[in-house]
Symmetry: C2
Subunit: 100 residues, 2 copies
DNA sequence: AGTATATTTTGATATTTGTCAAAATATCAA
DNA sequence: TTGATATTTTGACAAATATCAAAATATACT
């Protein structure tokens, strides 16, 4: 799957958007995150995985825990992609046409 | 489906993003759009419908043709939603918390 | 080594999504 | 009104997705 596609797909699920929102003000481990959602830890882990593949979150391990945090640098990418979708005259330069 | 959800879902498909991109520099009718894509007109019409529900495109009829154009005002909404997802300290105001 | 805790992975399943072909609808033009 | 063109709608189907329970993995503690 293309990089952009995995990014848009990752944003298309409400649970994943809630996860991002929960991480806005600081990192959280998987267990604490799981208490915010009424789904199994397995399902949540699946969502973490998609967010990670889309480069929307970073992880580090601290002992038994996996700590998730936002990868805010991707935000700029999303903005660029949206501009590319909507704004006439703001096309990607030749040869670096953004994949849509 | 919530307004935001239909918006994110609509953006999650590559064909639909291509449609938006094709409309960036001006409106097009359904038939001309269909020549840009290797899928049936029925399938394309389905995509048009989702884009319309997400308020990403507007339509008008001109005789037998349906003319699609971008609804650029929604671009601001998307930007707001993304800020709400990523930027700490830029939360929606109380009582008008953005649905995610 | 053995047990407990945190998290991910796997396999199964129900739902959603994108697609096509064919039927239906709308408009135009003779 | 009849026929042609443009588009949407419908019904069927395959592929993708979200979910769960259970098994597997990784780390910590005694």
């Amino acid at each position: 799957m293309s990089e952009n596609q995995s990014l848009f797909k990752a944003l298309a699920d409400p649970t994943r958007r809630q996860i991002l929102k929960a991480l806005k003000n600081g990192s959280m481990n998987a267990g604490d995150l799981s208490e915010l959602f009424p789904i199994s830890k397995g399902s949540l882990s699946h969502h973490f995985n998609l967010l990670k593949k889309a480069d929307l979150v970073k992880t580090r391990r601290n002992g038994q825990q996996i700590i998730y945090s936002l990868n805010t640098s991707v935000f700029e990418d999303v903005t660029t992609l949206l501009l590319d979708l909507f704004k006439a005259g703001e096309n990607a330069e030749d040869g670096e046409q953004n994949e849509i």
